[in-house]
């Protein structure tokens, strides 16, 4: 989230400069943010030390555990395993979601045939089927892959379809007026016009993919960051348990930031239009 605000600040500043505003208008938001981070960490450190290490940990203890887990190679192994599941599952979900979304958004019959199913599945908290998936696929890689896939595909699919449906009819008219074929209209108008929606779907899909990955790893509990959390949770090593949790947080932040950057890059007009 921090990254979004920074981008917005930057946009506002260029606007001001263009209008002849001075740099003095720049507010020290970053300073406030830095102070807030330091204060919260300090508070956590102080309060955390008062509580039994069984129930809670604190930054310095977590840092020590992180060093240990990194040195032993355990964290890195779990991280790689998780990344493998996440990246592959998410990639497959994105490809399938975009393709299906394009079809559903463009062809009313495909939409009519599938919308009830899509809506039903999207509304179901699909992590609920994890035990079933484990029954189907066993405790291995494919079960985790499937759960990541099934959780991430719907936001991508639904947003892509609504992107295709929301292409302004004026722009389709331009294609028609210039005697473009259906294929050319699809490639030169509909696809680029719905790209920003796809990116939004992809960004929302990432969050769900990470949730799916962790839940699947809880269940299979063989490897990955989720398994690491279960392991140290069961051993009551709370500080060590926090390390993979923070790792997951970092993954979410980084992935989302990349997705947001990509959204801006893909559709720069969308972020200046409404100012």
């Amino acid at each position: 989230m921090a990254l979004t605000t920074e981008v917005d600040d930057a946009a506002r500043e260029t606007e001001l400069e263009e209008l002849g505003g001075s740099k003095a208008a720049r507010k020290p938001y970053w300073l406030v943010r830095a102070i807030s981070i330091v204060l919260i960490l300090a508070l956590w450190e102080v309060v955390g030390r008062q509580v039994s290490p069984l129930f809670m940990s604190y930054p310095s203890a977590i840092a020590r555990a992180a060093v240990q887990l990194t040195a032993s190679g355990e964290l890195w192994g779990a991280f790689l395993s998780s990344m493998e599941t996440l990246t592959l599952g998410f990639l497959l979900a994105t490809i399938a979601g975009v393709l299906l979304g394009l079809l559903i958004g463009r062809y009313r019959y495909v939409d009519a045939a599938t919308d009830w199913l899509v809506n039903a599945l999207y509304s179901t908290p699909l992590v609920a089927i994890t035990p079933l998936v484990v029954l189907w696929f066993g405790l291995g890689f494919s079960a985790k892959l499937f759960i990541v896939f099934i959780l991430a595909i719907f936001p991508v699919l639904i947003n892509t379809a609504s992107g295709v449906r929301n292409v302004p009819s004026q722009l389709i008219d331009v294609g028609n007026a210039f005697a473009a074929s259906e294929r050319e209209i699809f490639a030169k108008v509909i696809l680029p016009a719905s790209l920003p929606y796809m990116m939004t779907g992809i960004r929302l899909g990432i969050g769900r993919a990470i949730i799916g990955m962790v839940v699947a790893e809880f269940f299979t509990a063989i490897n990955g960051l989720g398994a690491l959390i279960i392991k140290y949770g069961n051993q009551f090593e709370t500080a060590a348990m926090f390390v993979p949790i923070l790792c997951l947080m970092l993954m979410g932040v980084v992935y989302t930031a990349i997705a947001i950057r990509f959204e801006h890059w893909v559709a720069p007009w969308r972020h200046t239009e409404d100012e």
Partner: protein
């Protein structure tokens, strides 16, 4: 953009013997409309037996009240809507659908927001499968023609409304259409920008010798720009009268033209035609 200079004949009203660029005869159009979901469809007769011709190098305006069917007629000429009956010929060929022998400038600029000004102008050329270098060269030339030589790399959201309309005009001109169709292209602009663009359009027409059908509901605009004005009546829209505009090809700017007694006479004549209900 090689074309025979026929500017000298522009003000000659008698075009007998010359083949028209556009020939519209007895075109009718009705829309099927439903007031409510349960009600049966009713027919809304929008255009009734429209006939007129447009000759080489002319600017012809279609004028009429809002809702009288101007956009519908223009879209029929472009081939975006089918007409119910009658004939439409562009350079002698019947209109069966959209074609790149006609260029269209929309009421809203309708630029593709992910393309730069230049890439927008290249849109029709891409569809014609022109090579990238030729496309770029042509687009640059046209942007220069519409006064946007410096804005080629700008995206639509970085351009003002007037500049966007200029890009729209360049995009339509790029495919070198036999006929340029413009649907109230300046109506969404502020008065000052509108006057500038009206003047620019006359300059561009003088340079390119395009044949233009221009839809407007603005009397002054029609009188300033046109060689002829086709006045459409209210629903169903039929041709009420076709008015020859006598100011020639080297007309003074609009504020000066307004002082011309002929301008005032024609203006009140058209105003009467538009505002009077048909006496049946």
């Amino acid at each position: 953009m090689k074309q025979i200079d026929v500017a000298t004949t522009a003000s000659v009203p008698n075009r007998a013997g010359e083949a028209p660029r556009l020939s519209v005869s007895n075109v009718c159009k009705a829309f099927r409309i439903r007031k409510g979901a349960s009600q049966p469809a009713a027919l809304l007769q929008v255009l009734k037996s429209i006939s007129f011709e447009v000759y080489n190098n002319e600017i012809v305006s279609l004028i009429g009240e809002s809702g009288c069917g101007k956009t519908t007629l223009l879209r029929i000429i472009q081939g975006l809507i089918h007409h119910d009956s009658g004939t439409l010929l562009v350079e002698g060929q019947p209109v069966t659908g959209p074609g790149r022998d006609r260029g269209f400038v929309f009421q809203q600029p309708s630029l593709l927001p992910w393309r730069t000004a230049q890439e927008n102008v290249e849109f029709g050329l891409e569809l014609q499968r022109m090579s990238a270098t030729d496309r770029a060269a042509r687009a640059r030339k046209l942007l220069q023609l519409v006064g946007l030589g410096d804005a080629a790399e700008q995206f639509p959201h970085q351009l003002s409304g007037g500049m966007q309309q200029r890009v729209g005009l360049a995009r339509a001109l790029a495919i070198e259409p036999a006929l340029l169709l413009m649907d109230e292209p300046f109506s969404a602009l502020d008065a000052q920008t509108r006057e500038v663009l009206q003047k620019e359009l006359l300059r561009i027409q003088a340079e390119t010798h395009k044949t233009i059908v221009f839809v407007t509901h603005d009397l002054d605009e029609a009188l300033y720009l046109s060689d002829r004005i086709i006045v459409l009546g209210a629903r169903p829209g039929g041709v009420k009268e076709i008015i020859e505009v006598p100011f020639g090809s080297n007309r003074p700017e609009l504020p000066l033209l307004r002082g011309d007694p002929r301008f005032q006479a024609l203006r009140s004549r058209i105003w009467e035609l538009i505002s009077n209900r048909p006496t049946l």
